[in-house]
Assembly symmetry: C2
Homo-oligomer: 226 residues x 2
DNA sequence: TAAATTAATTGTTTTGATTACATTATTAAC
DNA sequence: GTTAATAATGTAATCAAAACAATTAATTTA
């Protein structure tokens, strides 16, 4: 049995989500090798002997986006024997929430953002992994305001509401949303307004820099962080 | 880099929890090999090439407890390079909730239940894994009545409340608990009572057999299962 | 067999959170 | 200065959670 285990390989795959062009989008790379050559996939790579899983995920994320110090959380480990057609590859999936403004990706033939509502054909079980990351993001949103990880540093309440609506896939009442949002701990009202490109200017808000780390989703739940 | 990955090993470890002697307890095995020979550990084993992770966890659970078809959920994957002193072993941890009545374990020198509040010295990072499983169990309890997985088939509301109190580590109000418990979907009031060993007999309840499977914690949240 | 003991059972009030819902205010464009 | 577009705001109704004590049904003991 020991010999049998020797041929497992382990990777990390990172679902990188952002809000861009009024849609929730995921970063995909086009595979240039078999299997699934030419199909889109979420970024990933082998785990090195010297690094732990979080570090591997951070590395993959940095390789693709040039950013670090962002919201990153282990999602689930996928290990179906048939998920990779040629080998036994177990993948530890992570998901990351990034601000599209922080990332300067020259979208190319082989790398780019894709709306989660309109995904291309994906390699391996990556469609399932993305679906699960969306579910987890919704769950997180219900207990802590992670959406601000997707927003620009300064944002309007309307933008924030839009982010919630995209993630939760439903319309929210404007007054109720604002009432709740403005009592969220960590939200700071600025004395700045949008440069009224047209119409009435909107007040800008920001979030104080809560250290959200990736340590096993030890999140702050409502009321526990007083 | 490919060669480097060839030396990872992957295991599953299963935190098996039950309520026994009025305490939350975890099943531990004493290691008879190095490393950590003589230390207690949670049951685990290598993942076989032919099985997926859930199947590996079910197998480990069955080997130790002779039970299957119980509550089992993937917990987290631990992959610190130093968690195993001699090798690079990544472990996918699961947790299981079992009824102590369903398990006939002859507690021995090498296998037995230990109160989670009073754990012996543990091998590897198993203490951390157990702590995390307790946190997850509390989170699950808040959104669905998994505690019945720990209770006998027929139980009194007082027993159910006790289970909640052990998991949540706090006292609950009797009337509020009963009000909420008796409106829980799936709880069935029986026309049976405890054989009054002493004092007033208590009504017995049971849970209708909800299929809780281990598929990636796709749990039924309040209100979503109507 | 009466009284004491032990645990089971039950309801109301208060409080806080969520939901539903429409008008006024501020700017730019014409 | 009128129009158009988006920002900003409050109140009533409903539901959920929390606080809180007396009565009932059995056994045990006197």
């Amino acid at each position: 049995m020991f010999n049998e285990t020797k041929t497992h390989e382990i990777t990390v795959d990172v679902v990188i989500l952002t809000i861009k062009n009024n849609a929730l989008q995921v970063l995909l790379v086009k595979r240039d090798n078999e299997p699934f050559k030419g199909k889109w996939a979420i970024p990933g790579g082998y785990v090195r002997l010297s690094e732990n899983l979080d570090e591997a995920a951070v590395r993959v994320l940095k390789e693709k986006t040039q950013v670090d110090n962002i919201y990153l959380e282990q999602l689930y480990t996928f290990g179906d024997p048939l998920r990779h057609p040629n080998a036994r590859v177990i993948t530890c999936a992570y998901f990351a929430l990034v601000r599209s403004e922080d990332i300067r990706i020259e979208s190319s033939e082989n790398l780019g953002w894709h709306k989660v509502e309109d995904l291309p054909a994906l390699a391996f079980d990556h469609k399932e992994i993305i679906q699960y990351s969306l579910k987890r993001t919704r769950e997180r949103l219900e207990i802590c305001p992670v959406a601000y990880q997707l927003l620009p540093e300064k944002f309007t309440l309307t933008e924030m509401q839009k982010a919630y609506e995209l993630i939760m896939r439903k319309k929210l009442d404007k007054r109720n949303f604002r009432k709740k949002a403005t009592t969220t701990e960590g939200l700071i009202e600025l004395d700045e307004y949008t440069k009224s490109l047209s119409k009435r200017p909107a007040r800008l808000y920001t979030f104080e820099n809560i250290k959200l780390n990736s340590k096993r989703a030890h999140f702050i739940k409502k009321g526990e962080n007083k």
